[in-house]
């Protein structure tokens, strides 16, 4: 163990009390089919701590009003809470300025925003956009739609059998036509953490901008956008213990300034006449209409909550669970792990030789265990592994080893029933 790891292990053992943390999440006391809920579907969405629920409720209970331009007290209070969330987010990912933080509905909208504004303006016929085999549909389809419209081409970085990007092949994809790279930081289906820093640096050698889909990374890894030097970064609030319907697009000012607005409407303008409209400054240029105010406030609260525990401690905790679960599942006969990369977040995908994931999901539900079964919105990735679907357990900051034991027990029962 090196010094940094030792310090982390020490800080984790001093600070992290998972049973105390669990008390912050009211939903964890729920019974499902008369069994305690074992929530292992955190890659789909995370549960919300009381702190986030209270902050969101307080907005509706005490100072609900529309933001910006209001002169009355409630509007000013709401504006202040909304804008302080933007600053919390800016500090959280170490952006240069708060004008680089755009509120969206979530990762999907953030990616669509870039594809339909930057993409429409700068991608032309014959140009090429690079993505990877392990992308979520939300980082495939917007680019495919753009390519169809512009007669451009989608190029795909292949992966190896452990679920890691083949970096040499990525390098080979570049040519004069390459105009954009959009890459997932951590895979929702495999858990693989991609070497995004290297991916970005290489693209920059060719003067190609890079968008990082950080939906699954933002609650596990400390992200510093200046250090990464990514041009865009997208993530959602609800995978970070915050509300649904709120997300973030980070963009470098240089690019955001060049891009046309995404949607037209209120808030995104500075002056409107019937002859011409001049657009508002950043970030408001990209925030037409009344936003999800409570959601933004909730997201700010979620980041405060997570930072209080410490992302490094959370990652350390989830890694312990991942190792424990990986080890236990590996002992079971007839189950194959899908995604065995060296660098992983707390996602464990597996495939039974003779039991369909849907049956696995129904059986585990009766044990109180919530996992996800299906293609996880990554059908091309499923095709790569020649399987229709996987069963996926994903860990969050409140999960325990005892919960992993309940999962493993459930899997053992399934193997008995299906007679392997």
């Amino acid at each position: 163990m090196n010094t940094k790891d030792a310090v982390l292990a020490d800080s984790y053992s001093k600070i992290y009390d998972v049973y105390k943390i669990r008390n912050d999440f009211p939903i964890l006391k729920t019974l499902v089919h008369n069994k305690p809920l074992v929530y292992l579907d955190n890659a789909a969405t995370t549960q919300k701590p009381q702190y986030v629920i209270d902050k969101t409720n307080n907005y509706y209970k005490k100072y609900n009003a529309n933001i910006h331009r209001g002169v009355h007290a409630l509007s000013q209070e709401a504006t202040e809470a909304f804008e302080s969330s933007r600053i919390i987010i800016k500090n959280f990912i170490n952006a240069l300025g708060k004008n680089e933080i755009i509120f969206t509905r979530g990762t999907t909208e953030s990616i669509n925003l870039v594809a339909s504004t930057y993409g429409r303006k700068f991608i032309n016929e014959g140009d090429e956009i690079i993505i990877s085999t392990m992308e979520h549909h939300s980082n495939i389809v917007p680019w495919q739609m753009l390519c169809e419209e512009k007669n451009a081409k989608l190029r795909v970085i292949p992966i190896n059998d452990t679920g890691e990007i083949i970096y040499d092949e990525y390098e080979k994809l570049f040519n004069k036509k390459t105009k954009f790279v959009s890459i997932v930081y951590a895979s929702n289906s495999l858990g693989t953490v991609n070497p995004v820093k290297n991916i970005i640096d290489l693209a920059h050698d060719y003067n190609v901008p890079v968008l990082v889909d950080a939906a699954q990374a933002v609650n596990h890894l400390k992200i510093d956008v200046q250090e990464l030097d990514c041009d865009f970064l997208a993530f959602s609030g609800h995978k970070l213990y915050g509300p649904t319907g709120i997300g973030v697009l980070y963009g470098k000012v240089h690019y955001l300034d060049l891009m046309p607005p995404y949607q037209g409407g209120g808030d995104m303008i500075s002056k409107v006449t019937f002859d011409k409209t001049t657009y508002n400054q950043l970030p408001h240029k990209f925030e037409a209409g009344t936003p999800n105010i409570a959601g933004a406030i909730g997201l700010g609260a979620a980041i405060e909550y997570v930072e209080e525990i410490g992302l490094e401690n959370i990652a350390y905790h989830e890694n312990i669970l991942l190792e424990y679960a990986t080890n236990a599942v590996s002992q079971l006969a007839g189950i194959r792990l899908i995604g065995t990369a060296k660098e992983k977040i707390g996602v464990l995908s597996f495939h039974f030789e003779n039991v369909h994931p849907h049956d696995v999901g129904t059986f585990l539900d009766f044990e109180g265990v919530a996992i996800r079964t299906g293609h996880h919105c990554t059908q091309p990735l499923m095709n790569r592994f020649c399987i229709p679907a996987t069963s996926r357990a994903s860990f969050g900051l409140y999960n325990t080893k005892e919960e992993v034991d309940v999962l493993i027990n459930g899997l053992t029962k399934i193997l008995e029933v299906f007679g392997q």
Binding site: D359, T362, F366, T373, P388, V417, G419
Partner: protein, 152 residues
Amino acid sequence: MNQELRELYQQVILDHNRSPRNFRLIEHPTNFAEGYNPLCGDNINIFLKINNKGIIEDISFQGSGCAISKASASLMTSMLKGKTVQEAEKIFDRFHELVTDKLGDNPDIDDLGKLAVFAGVREFPARVKCASLAWHTMLNALHDKKEKVITE
């Protein structure tokens, strides 16, 4: 095992899942259709050989899916072989009523024979599509509809 779960995964279903009947290709079928459930990735191909008297001489299936969908296809093919097209349509209706809970608490399902094992599916709304995918696909094949059956 929990009672509801036991009702869903009866021995007959587990058996047909393990060793599905009529799980093969029919060369030169008179009728054929594909079914797909995008939610779970289940896909099924149904092949039929119907003679000029309107009798199903042979019926088979191929594809991949969960235990419920595989057992359903297996039992369906066993049940329909030798039946007329009209009889097959009628059994489809009865089966559909059974899994979508249209028959009430104490249904008279003697005519359904082994298909009665699917009564447990009613308690699992998310799984009704699994049980009925093969049947909808069969119906499409009977009527020679070209578009893929998609259930979700």
